[in-house]
Assembly symmetry: C2
Homo-oligomer: 220 residues x 2
Amino acid sequence: MAKFNQIPLRESDRIEVELRRLILTLELEPGLAISEASLMKQYNLGRTPLREAFQRLAEQSLLQIIPHHGVVVTPLNVFEFVEVMDAMSMVIGSAAVLACKHMTQTQLDKLDELVKEGTSASAAGDFVRVAELDYEFHRELADATGNRYLRDYLLHLHRIATRFNFAAWKRDRNSTPSLEEHRQLAALFRQRDVDQVKTAMREHIENARTRLMGSLSNSD
Amino acid sequence: MAKFNQIPLRESDRIEVELRRLILTLELEPGLAISEASLMKQYNLGRTPLREAFQRLAEQSLLQIIPHHGVVVTPLNVFEFVEVMDAMSMVIGSAAVLACKHMTQTQLDKLDELVKEGTSASAAGDFVRVAELDYEFHRELADATGNRYLRDYLLHLHRIATRFNFAAWKRDRNSTPSLEEHRQLAALFRQRDVDQVKTAMREHIENARTRLMGSLSNSD
DNA sequence: TATATGCATATTGTATACCAAATGTATATT
DNA sequence: AATATACATTTGGTATACAATATGCATATA
């Protein structure tokens, strides 16, 4: 009788999540060639769930499958970064307006909580956690837009951008997402100040762009 | 020495393309449950390429994989349609501006050619072909933006919308994409009239929205 | 040297058999 | 009617074998 109540976790889901984590944090280096055999041994998996995870991650632009050649972690380059941020800039304004209008009390509280957690994670120098919370912050925002397609797009772009965030941080430990801006944004959302939210959100993105461009443009 | 020269076509690619075609044209009815076994026999395939195609199509929101239950063609409902069109509206203006600025002579010619082909396809009552050409038109536009992420997003949204186009057409044979608007747009692109292109493109989307809403809102 | 050719090898792509896990349905029980 | 149980079906995953293709290396040719 139980119908989709508790989703069983497939092996392919587990490895997908794990690989995505490794890719986003750059623990799997951009451009790295991945072989099925090594991952099969390393994670004690069969080929089926592994290959299915590959398909999904490739569809998410995190892997590239070159037929009969192999799987490669999608490389990073500055041009791609510019395109992601350009794309983000085009929609973040509309997204912020929608989110501001629809955001629930619960979501507002969640934003505050994320900022608080982020502050301590930042103080502890836990960049991985900071990046996670940054993602969660933007997820609340994306959810609040109430538009599924916009939501998925925003989070897709954010994930792509995350890799550049890590790349910048690895070169310059001072290059971290701005907690202060998140705090400010959370406050503006609570005030339901649509115009200010829109402006602040656009600035937030542009600040992230310039901050990362500085760290990324050292060679490469 | 030959390196990635001619991409070999995998079975999983062939079935992915075929299934996508069937889904977009509604030959595979929204909500339909698909069984591996039947498709394996019907297309004389093994499970592996079939299941990998499923993964990719699910990632494209065209299929839904419910673990241990089955694969379902993603259902259609009016609310989803509204969300797609809202999402499209948010980016189509920026996209049009970029495309207008970057469009090459070759692409301008291609637009004219697509309009011409569309006219004859429409005269012949070949709706499938009209829909194909509509997609190609928007693909040229999306390509011309020069932003990969924006491009992929636009085409993703267009594909989702395509299913609603077919749904509307099946209820009302007079509900077809406006060739005249495409013709007008092609002319404006050629004139490099950014402002007019932007306005016309927005109207094009809104017209499509209202046209389809009329056909879709009869029950369901 | 440079290029071309052919073969051996490794890896991916596909097919198949088998088992485990979950679901849906039918039946039985209260 | 509602709940519980048993069974059949389907998918998820493993293991294995084989086919198809790419790569590397050795050799041959200019």
